[in-house]
């Protein structure tokens, strides 16, 4: 047969491989809103981590001499009707909000990944059952379900976290299943199967890493959503039990004092709104940056 000599161009210096992370970061950087969002989210995270140490007062400390105080040097964000220092309350709220939002999102995410991968891989009857469950969760008034769970299991950290977590997985499962379905019959899975990979191995090493991009985006949208649900629970009086502060509690409390002491509303509501917005900008930026068709 005609044997062509196998020659390869080795002259060009191999370009240092630019990691996908670096490429994504370059795309992300172009979006100013997303960068702003990221900065605020990072501040929020740091505040959540070190907040309890830098807070000037404990969240249960009451200053009877300065009730309903406007911002002063002593209480830089004022105090509420019991004399709680608003600045400290907010720092603690951030801590609790982060714990619950991240915990709940993690719970939903794990349930969503397992069920979504399973449904997408197996297809057939398993898929049908899981997807009907997803439809059920989607159609069910989940906030009502959250309320029921919290009433049943109490208003502590754990029950609220689990309640929000186990009602929020349907979206993740549906998304993963869709992505897996589009890959399951693809060349990559076929090639891996042909070289002897088991289904478990394919799910773990091939499907999961390849859906992670989209999942990161959906996670970034999921966290503010869980924050909102948590605040919603507080506003109807089923959130964290006072004196543990949460944004929902603070806002609900301030609502009745709005006319007399508006700053009680400004600080918690403002910071909370800014946080939600920042998460959404960040999620938006991520979805653009992680999209392989976004150019470089």
């Amino acid at each position: 047969m005609a044997v062509a000599t196998v020659s390869t161009q080795s002259g060009a210096k191999p370009k240092r491989s630019r990691s996908q992370f670096a490429q994504a970061w370059r795309r992300y950087r172009r979006n100013y809103l997303a960068v702003g969002g990221l900065i605020w989210v990072i501040i929020f995270l740091i505040a959540g981590i070190i907040g309890p140490w830098i807070a000037p007062y404990s969240y249960s400390h009451t200053d009877f001499l300065n009730v309903n105080s406007p911002p002063t040097w002593q209480h830089i964000m004022g105090t509420d009707n019991l004399g709680h220092d608003m600045y400290s309350e907010i720092l603690w709220s951030i801590r609790f909000a982060l714990e619950i939002a991240f915990g709940a999102t993690l719970v939903s995410f794990v349930i969503g990944i397992v069920l979504g991968l399973w449904a997408g891989m197996k297809g057939g009857i398993v898929d049908q059952i899981i997807m009907r469950l997803v439809d059920f969760m989607g159609a069910f008034p989940t906030f009502f379900f959250d309320l029921l769970l919290v009433v049943k299991f109490g208003r502590g950290m754990g029950p609220i976290l689990m309640a929000i977590g186990i009602t929020g997985w349907a979206g993740y499962a549906r998304l993963i299943r869709g992505l897996v379905l589009s890959m399951r019959k693809g060349d990559m899975v076929e090639a891996a199967t042909a070289l002897g990979a088991s289904q478990m191995h394919i799910a773990r090493r091939y499907l999961l890493p390849n859906v992670m991009n989209q999942m990161a985006v959906s996670l970034a949208f999921g966290i503010p959503n869980d924050l909102t649900v948590m605040a919603g629970l507080s506003i109807v009086g089923m959130g964290l039990r006072p004196p543990m502060p949460s944004f929902g509690n603070l806002v609900a409390q301030a609502g009745s004092m709005m006319l007399g002491f508006p700053w009680m509303m400004y600080f918690p509501a403002g910071i909370f709104a800014l946080t939600l917005l920042s998460y959404l900008f960040m999620a938006d930026g991520l979805s653009e940056a992680l999209n392989p068709r976004g150019g470089d």
């Binding site: 062509a4 297809g123 042909a194």
Partner: protein
């Protein structure tokens, strides 16, 4: 040639469709000897890929193997359960696919992808697998294997990726390599390099190759035996030399005449008219009859069986002798 490594006998495969069945493979038999290269040639939809892929258990969920055996080293692959098949795939039988652009995991370094099979199959320890991967990349003609090991698939060209696919398929030194149109998606110049590489590896390791292709030229260049499939049936089997010299089936002649060769401006191209049929009932007459220039009434009424014309040359045509003797 010592013994048959891989032997397919009377394979029948059907596919369910919403309102009918498609008879994709109808009684296909062939064998590959140890160290032999078999070309499986046919048009799109002739069942060539389905035949090979169903043997290693890669059949779409709406397809079923109705009858037949596919013996690999004496064991029937079609009777194996999933675990046994997973053990054979990759370790004893390697596969290369048509499109290297979409077959690699975009998020895994190529070195890790090559190593993966060896480690998962317990073929080598991670340390040995690493050394072997570097060697393999070198053998595949990839420059600076140590650097390239750490690259991702998108940093390679199509030809390079196909080399990586080959390295993956060869990682565990399989006895049989199924190459499913390995050069179709590549440039002509790269095609030849890849074929040369495969040939070199095949000779060095005394591996058998089943080359699935629609390109008659590739098959005659690469293989020492050729099977022509049409509508899921074997039309002709012969050694390559015999094929080039004395094709005995009108379909084979049609295939040969449809090849465009450089420097043959004056030769009229004679494409085969019509399209390959999709059989929705088992064949009862010659499937090629409607497109055959030599068709007779007998062809339309009687199914030609695969019979020996001379030596190892087998043909399924009523008029094969006439074709061979240039009587028509």
């Amino acid at each position: 040639m010592a013994g048959h490594l891989f032997e397919v006998d009377n394979l029948n495969i059907e596919f369910r469709r919403s309102d009918d069945k498609v008879y994709a493979v109808n009684g296909v038999s062939f064998s590959i000897g140890e160290g032999g290269t078999l070309g499986i040639v046919g048009e799109s939809g002739s069942g060539k890929s389905v035949t090979m892929m169903s043997c290693i258990g890669l059949i779409r969920s709406n397809g079923t193997v109705k009858a037949g055996t596919a013996k690999f080293e004496g064991h029937d692959l079609l009777k194996m359960n999933r675990k046994q098949l997973e053990h054979i795939r990759g370790l004893e039988i390697g596969v290369i696919f048509q499109d290297p652009m979409t077959s690699l995991n975009p998020l895994m370094r190529i070195g890790d992808q090559i190593m993966e099979g060896m480690i998962e199959h317990h073929y080598a320890t991670p340390r040995d697998a690493f050394d072997r991967t570097i060697n393999l990349l070198g053998e595949m003609g990839i420059p600076e294997p140590k650097t390239r090991f750490r690259n991702y698939p998108h940093e390679f060209s199509g030809g390079m990726r196909q080399r990586i696919m080959i390295a993956m398929a060869l990682a565990c030194e399989p006895k049989l390599l199924i190459a499913d149109e390995p050069t179709t998606a590549l440039d002509v110049t790269v095609q030849m390099q890849i074929l040369a590489l495969l040939k070199e590896q095949q000779e060095k390791k005394n591996m058998s190759i089943a080359m699935i292709t629609h390109d008659f030229g590739v098959a005659t260049n690469f293989c020492d035996k050729i099977v022509v499939l049409y509508a899921g049936q074997v039309m002709e089997v012969a050694e390559t030399k015999e094929f080039i010299r004395r094709p005995a089936h009108p379909y084979t002649i049609g295939l040969k005449n449809s090849i465009i060769e450089v420097g043959q401006r004056d030769r009229a191209l004679k494409p085969i008219p019509g399209m390959a049929p999709t059989l929705t009932s088992p064949p009862t007459s010659c499937s090629f009859a409607d497109r055959c220039p030599l068709v007779t009434d007998r062809c339309r009424n009687e199914l030609p069986v695969l019979r020996q014309v001379d030596g190892n040359h087998m043909v399924a045509c009523h008029r094969a002798e006439e074709v061979l003797n240039h009587a028509v």
